[in-house]
Symmetry: C2
Subunit: 191 residues, 2 copies
């Protein structure tokens, strides 16, 4: 998606170790118009999936997932990383290694909002090692829901997440694909 | 705002101790259409503020803040509760007591995205004791920005937050006001 790619070219920062800083329009400051355009694009690509719900993880997945959900007319559930007191005692919980935090994080969904028979689209900001998305897949499967598609704003193909998700045999769509961040560069190509 | 009030009547749960569970449409599962309608309403009420930015706190503030920002054509910044590795060493940080977590949480904003001279509207899901919003006010003031207005989806007037914010002398708008949650009830009235 050209608008997102251009924004990464203009404002994205390669911090080394494969870390792409997009804090000025996705991860800390958010550009709502760009997120809306990304939501429209995901909704177009996933229009015929027949999904019943969008699933994402707090925090950075919320903006793109919310906009996608809006354009598909679906509710969105975001997995929590800490269990709030409003959640029932019995929850779906999995752990996933966080690349940017350097530790395991919990992903928690209440059974109240993810039910057997649901068809979910997982949306997140990044598809990198795939660990967060695989955690969301496990949560959905534990709930008896089916993952019907996966979407990420930015894929870092050199981290191999797509290969790990291939067994699901569902559409995996990234709006921008980065194939290398070696030597301080940001190289875009098809994933 | 009638649509939000009706949804609270239908799906909100009084868990006792002043805790209102709205996890089915705001705090865990999110209804994007309802959030969009709330964003339109905030944008209408704050159309003449001349704001340059929306400021909120992760996590539950993101959805209403994003939708408000979209309809006002402004960027939104969400204060982080943990400092990501993409943030510079020098940040604006304050602590605020969290009612639902029973402990102090940090609110962190990067100086890159909150500058002196900015005019911010603070948007959050709840205005209760006011502690999170007061924390955001402190962050904005530390950055040299001016708080021009405050908006919350749901105000729990019996927790007194509005009185604590009065000294700012700015518009404080809540879309729904709850004046009592005693005896398992949810009483709506003007704030």
């Amino acid at each position: 998606m050209e608008a997102l790619k251009q924004r990464i070219i203009e404002e994205g920062k390669n911090l080394g170790n494969g870390i792409l800083k997009v804090d000025s329009f996705i991860n800390h400051q958010v550009d709502p118009s760009l997120m809306d355009a990304c939501g429209i694009e995901f909704a177009r690509r996933f229009a015929n999936i027949g999904a019943t719900k969008i699933l994402t993880a707090e925090i950075s997945g919320i903006a793109p997932a919310l906009m996608t959900a809006r354009h598909l007319g679906l509710p969105v559930v975001y997995a929590r990383k800490t269990k709030p007191i409003t959640m029932p005692d019995q929850v779906y919980l999995t752990v996933a290694p966080s690349h940017t935090k350097g530790r395991l994080v919990e992903l928690i969904v209440s059974p109240e909002y993810l039910a057997g028979g649901e068809k979910v689209i997982i949306i997140d900001d990044f598809l990198a090692s795939g660990s967060t998305i695989i955690g969301l897949v496990r949560l959905a499967q534990t709930a008896g829901a089916r993952v019907a598609a996966i979407g990420a704003l930015i894929e870092k193909s050199f981290e191999g997440g797509r290969a790990l998700l291939k067994y699901l045999n569902v559409p995996i769509e990234s709006l921008v694909c980065i194939t290398s961040m070696d030597n301080g560069q940001i190289i875009f190509d098809n994933c």
